[in-house]
């Protein structure tokens, strides 16, 4: 066999069959439908929690953790196959904060005590974490964060606020970046704390998204006391931890499978409604080609990861394209829905108020289109990604 190829080897092919069989058997169709009708980035807790438990029972909840902490020991290709198959089957999204952020951070930086206390509960879906990085004045510019944590005896006392905190209203823990000191280099005064959301002085204010969903929040801290044992690594290490997470996340934006599922839904839809508009076919083909291209970029990155190479500005290219394509998919769905998407629904979840294939396709279309505008803003805006690409790749 030629070295360059798109063919799964026998073992990997068998693994894919195993994953498919598992999903066939264990993913309830109603759960997949509910996920298809979700308009938010995260799945609602009611949807993701039971799925997390199913995965945990199978031992597949944390593929990227080391085996000793409950990981699966899969190589990069298997992890990619697993993630892609879940997208293909429309499983609920499990919140990444616990499994993909807190877990890796504690495994790398945490004390033995912290690992023991938190890792199993994350794995088994007993705790639900949120992430407190952004602040009202610090969006793309994280170094300027202000939430103050002052050491008083065995506690840090927190005052300030976080914003865009996904699912703060259901989480019982937050991993937060806080300012423990000032100085000429703002990055040096940032620390990482594990904050119980049940602590006194924590207040959660819902921020309704443009699509009408309650997914994110502003979180206020007023004299909130957090024990010093909840500090991760040393004071001032917050910036290093944030950078580690960023590195860790690099190459994890793999979305071709999810986009292809959306495209297939659009193709089905276009067939079902039989619009007299030749432009629709051109647009769907363009989208298909864009997704083929994205998948090739992902698989190339996967090939690099498999050889142990660290991705660079390629991650920014992927982030940029994925967010753009996610927006295009929702635009197309809206175009296909036409006036059927006009109606403003306040009830969530959508799967509870839709009862026909038409409604499944049309009712969530508008909220999804609106919410997806956020994809080019959060997680490093497209403008930030372009700056990274120009600097790192073009040396401009």
């Amino acid at each position: 066999m030629n070295k360059m190829n798109l063919t799964l080897d026998e073992d990997a092919a068998a693994f894919r069959e195993e994953v498919r069989a598992f999903l066939d058997a264990k993913l309830p169709p109603a759960m997949a439908r509910a996920q298809r009708l979700t308009t938010t980035v995260f799945s609602e807790y009611e949807l993701s929690h039971p799925w997390h438990e199913i995965l945990a029972r199978k031992g597949w909840a944390a593929p990227d953790w080391p085996v000793e902490h409950g990981g699966t020991g899969w190589d990069a290709t298997r992890r990619y196959i697993f993630a892609s198959e879940m997208e293909r089957a429309a499983t609920p999204y499990i919140s990444p904060i616990g499994l993909h952020m807190v877990g890796p951070v504690l495994i790398k930086f945490g004390t033995a005590e912290q690992k023991k206390q938190f890792l199993p509960r994350i794995l088994e879906a007993k705790d639900y974490w949120c992430q407190g990085f952004s602040e009202p004045g610090a969006g793309s510019d994280l170094a300027s964060l202000k939430l103050r944590a002052v050491r008083q005896g065995d506690d840090y006392v927190l005052n300030g606020s976080k914003i865009w905190t996904t699912h703060a209203h259901v989480a019982n823990w937050m991993i937060a970046l806080v300012r423990t000191s000032d100085g000429p280099k703002p990055q040096a005064g940032i620390s990482c704390l594990l904050v119980p959301m049940t602590a006194a002085g924590v207040q959660v204010r819902p921020i309704r998204t443009i699509g009408g969903d309650h997914e994110v929040n502003e979180v206020f801290f007023e004299d909130t006391r957090v024990p010093v044992e909840n500090l991760v690594a040393a004071e001032g290490q917050g910036w290093a931890i944030a950078k580690y997470l960023l590195e860790f996340e690099r190459g994890s934006v793999m979305a071709a499978a999810s986009l292809r599922r959306s495209l297939n839904e659009l193709l089905d839809r276009a067939l079902a409604i039989d619009i007299d508009d030749p432009d629709i076919e051109y647009s769907l083909s363009r989208l298909g080609i864009d997704i083929d291209t994205l998948e090739m970029m992902e698989l190339t990155m996967l090939s690099s990861l498999s050889r142990g190479e660290a991705p660079g500005a390629e991650s920014s290219i992927l982030k940029l394209r994925v967010s753009q394509l996610q927006q295009q998919v929702t635009e197309m769905a809206l175009q296909l829905a036409g006036e059927s998407a006009l109606r403003w629904e306040t009830h969530r979840a959508f799967h509870e108020i839709c009862s026909t294939p038409d409604e499944d396709a049309n009712k969530p279309a508008l909220s999804r289109y609106l919410n997806t505008r956020a994809n080019t803003i959060f997680g490093g805006s497209s403008e930030i990604q372009r700056t990274i690409i120009a600097k790192q790749l073009l040396k401009l």
Binding site: D141, T209, A337, S340
Partner: protein, 389 residues
């Protein structure tokens, strides 16, 4: 040839702007008995003379033109007005044009602001050729019997009288029927659009109507309805232009004050140039809106060219300006916390109604085959309004 607004138009625009800025937020804050409708606001619209503006003097109107409606509509977009102004006045225009004296009687209450109208035409999720209408009325023993359904009727949930387009069974042609939405056999499901405006779906099952329900002669009704849809479309274009102007201004303002990396984001050249492109789109939208307004009552080929051109161009500008306004507002742009969200939704609704971009591109191409696109806009026309007011 002069494209600058006349003094009285500037006055009309400024009085609308001021009234809506000063009064309308109060009306909206008061608890509404019916979603999408403030009686106080509506009474204000009547007092301002806006209900009478574009009706002929023969039925008590002021005899104004669509250009004036366009001016008002632009201010409605800027102020996010949700009341069903367009369905009421466009329906009233049809009654004035096509009705007899008896049928005109209803217009007194409409002008007084105590009676609402809606025009029920569409039956599919997108604008289509009117010839495909399936709702039908049968003539039987001196009465009409109506069966069918209509979707997404703007203002349909609030209307006291509906104008329903139906195929005339067994006799060819179409008719517009004035119907009481509470009549037996009418089912009406009202809902709110993403812009907060009232819409309704409705069904008609063996609804019996007297002969007087039929508006005007039946054979040439479709061109009048098509013209009414085009008048609605151009007024909605104006509404969108009003909304996009507020959005661009808000975005520029936000960019001057929002600081990231130690500088206002409005000093980053990539964003500055993006906003320049938004300004270009706004200028284009305003320019083509004016064409649509001036041709809203022109002979049908000229009208279709202008209205569909406006609809395409303004929808594209609305999408660009809306999406970029949200993007430049960053996280706050994708919430309901700032007005930017409401304006973006309004522009999105605008894109979805009365035919999407591709529909109007095909329509523009169709009229192009008549040769009307080949000449410039500066013509020496004899005005031959066929289906105008």
């Amino acid at each position: 040839m002069d494209l600058l607004p006349a003094e009285e138009q500037l006055l009309l625009k400024e009085s609308a702007r001021r009234f809506l800025a000063e009064q309308y937020p109060k009306f909206r804050e008061a608890p509404a008995a019916r979603p999408g409708f403030s009686p106080a606001a509506w009474a204000g619209f009547a007092d301002m003379g806006w209900l009478a503006l574009a009706l002929p003097e023969s039925v008590g109107g002021f005899g104004g033109k669509m250009e004036d409606v366009v001016l008002i509509s632009e201010q409605f977009g800027a102020a996010l007005v949700v009341e069903p102004y367009l369905p009421v006045i466009i329906s009233a225009q049809l009654i004035a044009k096509l009705g007899d004296d008896e049928q005109h009687a209803i217009l007194d209450a409409v002008l007084a602001g105590t009676h609402l109208l809606a025009l029920a035409v569409g039956e599919t999720p997108r604008r289509a050729a009117l010839e495909g209408i399936a709702t039908r009325a049968a003539h039987s023993q001196g009465t009409w019997v109506l069966n069918g359904a209509k979707t997404a009727v703007r203002g349909g949930g609030l209307a006291d009288t509906l104008l329903v387009l139906a195929r005339l069974d067994g006799m060819g042609g179409f008719g517009l029927f004035m119907i009481d939405p509470d009549a037996p056999g009418v089912t009406r499901r009202a809902w709110q659009g993403a812009d907060g405006a009232d819409f309704a779906d409705m069904e008609f099952r063996n609804v019996t109507m007297p002969p007087s329900a039929l508006l005007g002669a039946r054979r040439d009704i479709l061109p009048h309805v098509e013209a009414a849809l085009d008048r609605t479309a151009i007024a909605l274009c104006a509404d969108a232009v009003g909304a996009m102007k507020v959005l661009l201004a808000a975005t520029v303002e936000y960019a001057k004050t929002r600081v990231q990396f130690g500088k206002p984001i409005g000093s980053f050249q990539a964003l500055t140039h993006r906003m320049a492109d938004m300004a270009v789109k706004q200028a284009e939208a305003e320019a083509i809106l004016l064409l649509g307004a001036l041709k809203a009552e022109a002979p049908s080929h000229e009208r279709v060219r202008a209205v569909s051109a406006a609809r395409v161009k303004i929808a594209e500008c609305a999408r660009f300006i809306g999406q970029q306004a949200v993007q430049l507002h960053g996280g706050m742009g994708v919430t309901e916390e700032l007005p930017v969200g409401a304006y973006f939704k309004r522009l999105t609704v605008f894109e979805l109604v009365l035919g999407d971009i591709n529909f109007h591109l095909r329509r523009y191409a169709w009229v192009g085959r008549t040769g009307v696109l080949r000449e410039g806009l500066l013509s020496v026309p004899e005005m031959r309004p066929e289906y105008a007011l």
